[in-house]
Symmetry: C2
Subunit: 159 residues, 2 copies
């Protein structure tokens, strides 16, 4: 088990074509509707996903060409470990975003919350289950100070 | 971009060696401490992860040898789409679990919430950031009826 081969199950279409257009986190972009399209052979797998309000998308950071062990994220001036940040420049280049499902039509899922480039290869969709995934009193390490007292840092949305 | 190669960044050690031992969801096993071990070359990537209470583990379902488009999960008698359940028999065989971090020592992370087999290949660790990942009023499709009024279904923990 030295390596595994994975493949796109579809593609994610977003309004974001260049780095400076990308929001830091898509969930603050509540009016931008994006959509993903699974290959026709996977359409049956979407059955009953419409009954969930949210889902995780797993995708491939196809524009990242490097791997670093530490990175200095937006908002910070000092580096943190790659496993303590959400940078694309990580081993295996797999991204994870929580999205809000708007509508499902055939092999397309329309959603709110995109923070990835247009054309991003989709690897998986998992239903968000609050009974499993909801956490009370979680602490957010280096991010806490930036979000203190309900603050949303300037620039975390590209608007 | 027809396929991508990924590799284990380490391994997850859990008490679960056989299918009947696996909890349906690890988060209900609040006293079982498991640990993951990243390869030494990735140890630097753990810097500052200790300041987060929770993290996502991405891992490879190495014991799943099939892919199905629908599946009938535990608790249910009718099938749902693979993207509306958390079954291992999914395209790309990537698993996602939210875990609670107990302690980090060198290249080992001790945690609560394992729901995968002992020896599972680890693909990534991402910090859980409540400001990005926390969702209010999420609905859980076919799972809702089973968890109604605070119920935790019998057998969801293996205890």
């Amino acid at each position: 088990m030295s390596h595994f081969t994975i493949h796109p199950i579809g593609v994610i279409h977003t309004p974001y074509k260049q780095k400076q257009e990308l929001p830091i986190q898509g969930r603050f972009e509540t009016e931008v509707v994006s959509y993903l399209e699974v290959k026709k052979i996977y359409q049956e797998g979407l059955l009953d996903l419409k009954d969930f309000s949210h889902a995780y998308l797993l995708f491939y950071f196809h524009q990242s060409k490097k791997v670093t062990m530490v990175g200095t994220p937006y908002l910070e001036s000092i580096p943190h470990g790659i496993f303590a940040i959400r940078s694309p420049h990580r081993p295996n280049h797999i991204g994870l975003s929580l999205i809000k499902i708007k509508e499902i039509k055939e092999n397309k899922v329309f959603f709110i919350g995109a923070d990835m480039f247009d054309g991003t290869p989709l690897l998986d969709i998992k239903p968000y289950v609050p009974y499993f995934d909801h956490t009370e009193n979680a602490t957010a390490g280096w991010l806490e100070k930036h979000f203190k007292n309900g603050n949303i840092p300037t620039g975390i949305s590209h608007k």
